[in-house]
Amino acid sequence: MTSLPTQVTGKKLGLVIDLDVCVGCHACAVICKEWNTGGYGSALSDQEPYGEDVTGAWLNRIHTFEVTPGDMIPGYGKKPKGQGVGEVIAQTEEARVVHFPKSCLHCDDAPCVTVCPTGASYKRGEDGIVLVDEDKCIGCGLCAWSCPYGAREMDQDAGVMKKCTLCVDRIYNEDIPEIDRQPACVRTCPANARHFGDLGDPNSDVSKMVEERGGIDLMPEQGTRPVNKYLPPRARQTLPSSEVPSAAAIAETTDGAQGFMKWIDTALSKI
């Protein structure tokens, strides 16, 4: 059914990605390619793998963004006047980098499903996973056009649309150990930035995480109602301002090493 499922179980499997700990290592993207190139559907082919215009189909890609706080003078950072080159005082409110993994968000209102002329693209009623039936796909590319997130890529060799399957051939696979029945990217992420679960169940771990951390939808303006959620970076803890040393300490300080040695004598005798 190329229309969105009408009979739904309420189960919404998806990923929660924690931007607070993702270090942009690309592990999830590569293992995704590795798992899926010999698994569900046709291989994820690569063109000119050793040539000039190397390219290939990937289901997960890691972007890197830089965020500069609004009140920074463009290009100069938030820098008090009169400081020379190099005198950056790097602290919480300054420019930062955020690594940003992105795969299919298994949208509730998935436009990629409704635009598909063949019914190849579909969303499952029982768990919300959005899949492509490669046997039906004509490779028209319209679904990729309709996806605002760039989550679909046409395989150039097979001529069919590829996308994240939520590792449907792992999460239900009774031939692999139960503990491994989770998406390849989730299992491999060294920073544990990726979490898998039922976002339709408010009591699931992922739902709680989203609740606690204020998980967000990407591009809400596109009206796709993504299932996957992103946890924004936690507020950075600024270094507490050091307390002004006590008067006594300052007095001691002024006599430098000698004061220090006096302190040692008293301190040592207490040990």
Partner: protein, 304 residues
């Protein structure tokens, strides 16, 4: 968006073909005339050729038949179904005209309505995509419809002129051309002046932290997404092509039509038609090339 040749040819030819078929159906020029017969065949071939071309960009054209199945939700599917359905009256109209030298009023009306709906469906394939802001508005449909109609009128005016120049048709064609390009001007203005609703801030959810800017692409080379969705023509070239499309699509045809009207020389009409179609090809190329896809904010754009 990547301006795929097959898709440009498809929309240009089928748009023109449906427009021509519709105008032939509505105006019912005398089918015993060779030029009119030729018009019917031309419309048929343009439609068929356009549809065939559209399958060329498919990854698996041998399964194209599957595309008729999802008419309940997919405009592409609807377009396919409508195209097939339209072939029934269209074939009848063409056959009657070519073989039996006749035309039937109500049939022509049916052809015109169904052609209109089909062109509308084609335009909806694009207009329904929220991800491409330039397309996602009713002016897209208006343009497609008006271009189809004006192409049809231009052709019929020219074909009729083989027999006898008909100033009504010429005037109508000029009005339609002007209207089409007027609509397109509004469309261009919107494209130039407004950007889509998505920004790197909304795309990453990091907008609350400040200004979000792509620092490093996920892959340093090109990929399907950047080729397909990331294509953007340089402003300089776009301006040039717009001039070409206005010049060849509107100005020249109008002048030539006027000359044809004045001189009665069909030759000018034929050139007008060819010029118009070339102009439309340029317009269509730009329709894709200038459109920005939402995903581009993940690849360096500031909004889409």
């Amino acid at each position: 968006m990547h301006p795929a040749l097959s898709v440009i040819i498809f929309t240009t030819l089928s748009g023109f073909g449906y427009g021509l078929a519709a105008i032939l159906g509505l105006f019912q020029p005398d089918p015993s005339l060779m030029a009119v017969k030729f018009g019917h065949v031309l419309a048929f071939l343009a439609i068929a050729g356009g549809l065939l071309a559209s399958t060329l960009h498919l990854g698996n054209p041998q399964r194209a038949w599957r595309a008729f199945s999802q008419w309940r939700s997919s405009w592409l599917s609807r377009e396919g179904v409508l195209a097939v359905l339209t072939f029934v009256p269209l074939t009848a109209q063409t056959g009657l005209a070519v073989v039996f030298d006749t035309s039937i009023g109500w049939l022509g009306f049916v052809v015109a309505v169904m052609s209109g709906i089909t062109v509308y469906a084609t335009s909806m394939i694009y207009a329904s995509l929220k991800t491409v802001n330039a397309w996602h508005n009713p002016m897209t449909n208006t343009c497609y419809m008006l271009f189809a109609a004006s192409g049809g009128l231009l052709a019929v005016a020219t074909l009729s002129a083989f027999n006898d120049t008909q100033s009504t048709l010429i005037v109508l064609a000029i009005i339609a051309l002007a209207a089409a390009f007027f609509a397109k001007t509004i469309w261009f203005r919107a494209l130039d002046n407004e950007s889509g609703p998505s920004t790197p801030g909304s795309a990453t959810g990091l907008g609350f932290l400040g200004k979000v800017r792509l620092l490093e692409r996920p892959h340093m080379g090109e990929n399907y997404l950047t080729r397909e969705m990331g294509f953007r023509v340089a402003r300089k070239h776009a301006q040039k092509l717009r001039l070409i499309s206005y010049g060849l699509g509107l100005v020249l045809p109008v002048l030539l039509l006027l000359i044809m009207g004045a001189t009665g020389m069909v030759f000018f009409g034929v050139i007008a038609l060819l010029s118009h179609l070339t102009g439309i090809l340029a317009e269509r190329w730009l329709f894709f090339a200038e459109a920005k896809h939402a995903v581009s904010v993940y690849y360096g754009s500031e909004s889409a």
